[in-house]
């Protein structure tokens, strides 16, 4: 105990030096936590936008559909799959879809389109489809109308109340054809979706493609991305061939790559920051040891074992790290929490670009615990590494030379 008290008091022999060294750690932790919180916040926002826009956190389909997205590879939801989904506690919602391609025609114009049959209320819970209705009304289970994406509607020169003809190939090559009134016009943030999407009720789509009770996929939602891994693990374990489950990350690897690339940039910046801090602490520790050579020699001479001396020097290094890390976290947590609750609004071109991409123009922050404990862990590792020097020094200190110092 006395050794730790000596270490603590040694720190305050030159208070300004300790304050400055701990201060460098404080600012390092603060900046790093702030930067990480902002990075994680933007990833969470991106992922949330992607999954809540269309893909969901998870999708269930058949292995054949995964390989070849044709209506012949769709499936009928059986009780066993339904029971697995209903019993998985991590799932907040799931909704059924039947997707296929068809030609859409107005009076004189025809265009290829993607037909998506959905459960109107379920789809709205999962992806908030209703909010993209620009004109007209949203689907209900009893309606036989369709929602047409805005650019497609313009191309076909149709509007709410007009009718369009859908025709193509149904299940097992059956002719698929139908006439549908337009209930509403959808305007998505994505131009690609605006050019080709048509939504109708699941029943109508199954009727159109002669694919009674058949589904192309089930879209599954969980609380957030941090709750995904256990649900994914459970479902992958329980759902057997010919069905398969895929996460948003597996369905959209390009987004994962983008996040990984950005994360690597963040790691680089933080590494630079921590390298600078490391040399700052090392300089202080070198000074603290070299200017006390005689004192350390005296302590060994009068009977302090070198192992105990190394404990004193180790704790001196550790205390500097702890002071910096704790104060850094104590300040960074409330700051990040403030911005977590009050995201920074973006303006100008950046904001317009985000709005066009269907992303809310805000800079979000994350309050995930690892944003903060990672910084403390890094500082701990740095101090452990730096403490190697004084510990080695305490074992190699020449007694007579240090007493003459």
């Amino acid at each position: 105990m006395k050794l730790i008290i000596i270490a603590w008091r040694n720190l305050w022999r030159k208070p300004w030096r300790t304050v400055i060294t701990s201060g460098s750690i404080f600012f390092g932790v603060l900046l790093s936590a702030f930067m990480t919180s902002m990075q994680y916040g933007s990833y969470e926002s991106m992922i949330s936008n992607v999954v809540k826009f269309y893909s969901g956190y998870l999708q269930l389909f058949t292995e054949e559909y995964h390989e070849n997205k044709t209506i012949n590879n769709t499936f009928i939801l059986n009780d066993s799959i339904k029971s697995i989904l209903d019993n998985e506690k991590g799932i907040t919602h799931y909704t059924k879809r039947l997707e296929y391609f068809s030609l859409a025609s107005s009076d004189e114009i025809t265009k290829g389109s993607v037909i998506i049959g959905v459960d109107p209320s379920g789809e709205n819970e999962v992806t908030g489809l209703k909010k993209w209705v620009k004109e007209g009304t949203y689907l209900d289970n009893n309606s036989n109308g369709v929602l047409v994406a805005t650019d497609l509607a313009k191309y076909l020169q149709v509007g709410v109340g007009d009718t369009i003809v859908l025709y193509g190939q149904g299940y097992h090559g059956v002719m698929a054809a139908g006439v549908y009134p337009i209930k509403g016009i959808l305007k998505f943030p994505s131009p690609e979706l605006n050019k080709q999407f048509i939504y109708m009720t699941l029943n109508e789509s199954q009727e159109l493609f002669s694919a009674q009770n058949r589904l192309s996929s089930i879209v599954i939602m969980v609380e957030d991305n941090y709750h995904l891994p256990p649900v994914l693990k459970n479902l992958k374990r329980e759902i057997k061939s010919p069905y398969m489950i895929r996460s948003w990350a597996e369905l959209q690897p390009e987004l994962v790559q983008m996040i990984d690339g950005d994360r690597a940039g963040g790691y680089f910046m933080k590494s630079l920051l921590y390298i600078i801090i490391t040399f700052g602490i090392l300089g202080t520790i070198l000074m603290m040891v070299s200017e006390r050579k005689r004192e350390l020699g005296v302590m060994i001479a009068i009977g302090l074992q070198r192992s105990k001396l190394s404990i004193i020097l180790f704790f001196e290094t550790l205390f500097i790290g702890i002071i910096g890390a704790i104060t850094g976290l104590a300040v960074s947590i409330p700051i990040c929490y403030y911005y977590f609750k009050n995201p920074i609004p973006l303006t100008g071109d950046a904001a317009s670009t985000m709005v066009n991409m269907g992303i809310e123009p805000f800079m979000y922050f994350s309050m995930q615990p690892d944003v903060f404990y990672t910084q403390a862990f890094i500082v701990f590792i740095i101090t452990i590494l730096i403490s190697i020097y004084p510990v080695v020094k305490s074992y190699t200190l020449g007694l007579t030379s240090s007493l003459r110092a």
Binding site: K2, Q305, K308
Partner: protein, 230 residues
């Protein structure tokens, strides 16, 4: 009874191609309760001799036997424990631990010995009172004068109840009155606790107090005289 037996003690420093014999085959014994000054000109080898005697500097050859233990046959760890339990040190520059109070400096060595708190507190108080600074028990070294710091150093040296105390130029940084009172104090401690004191010194006042004076020159004992002093 011999507390310390020294046999053919030699220390050779390798200075490149030149080898310097700092201590050259010294044989000497010290008895319990002696008050000895080791004297000699600068570079005569007295500090090297004291360092080897105190287990601080390994001799090139020879033996230092303290209480029947060949000091330089001990492992480095055992040697540190041996010093703690058997040898008290008083240095020229006092060398107290600056972040500990006078009391804590004295107590520190007893804590290393694993003595119980009650015993430590009692002995710390007793020793600081014995050296005349019982009222400065809570003062840090920086708040004490040189003479007071050297008194704390003497109390610290006595704290572990050592076989003997080695004092390397203990009066070199003290003014005349502090030197006189410190010597008086060490003389009292010598008598009171029957602790052996061995000084390396240039100081005539120390020599005047010593009951045995060993003169070293060129690493060899030139003379070894006993004096009858009160």
């Amino acid at each position: 009874m011999n507390v310390i037996e020294i046999k053919s003690l030699t220390k050779i420093y390798n200075g490149g191609e030149v080898k310097v014999k700092a201590v050259n085959g010294i044989d000497i014994n010290f008895k319990q309760g002696e008050f000895t000054a080791v004297v000699g000109p600068s570079g005569s080898g007295k500090t090297t001799f004291l360092n080897m005697l105190g287990g601080l500097d390994r001799p090139t050859s020879g033996e230092v036997i303290i209480g029947g233990v060949n000091v330089w046959g001990l492992s480095s760890r055992q040697l540190i424990d041996f010093r703690m339990n058997n040898i008290g040190f008083v240095f020229q520059s006092y060398n107290l631990i600056p972040v500990l109070t006078a009391g804590e400096n004295v107590e520190f060595i007893m804590q290393l010995q694993g003595k119980p708190k009650k015993e430590r507190d009692l002995r710390t108080k007793e020793l600081l009172e014995a050296v005349g600074i019982g009222d400065r028990i809570k003062s840090r070294p920086s708040k004490l004068s040189g003479g007071q710091q050297q008194r704390v150093a003497v109390a610290r040296a006595l704290a572990s109840k050592p076989e003997f105390i080695l004092a390397d130029e203990p009066t070199a940084n003290l003014d005349s009155s502090s030197t006189t009172s410190l010597l008086e104090l060490m003389s009292q401690m010598n008598k009171k606790f029957n602790t052996t004191f061995i000084f390396a010194t240039h100081d005539q006042r120390v020599m005047d107090k010593a009951r045995r004076i060993v003169t070293i020159e060129d690493g060899k004992i030139l003379s070894d005289e006993y004096f009858d002093r009160e």
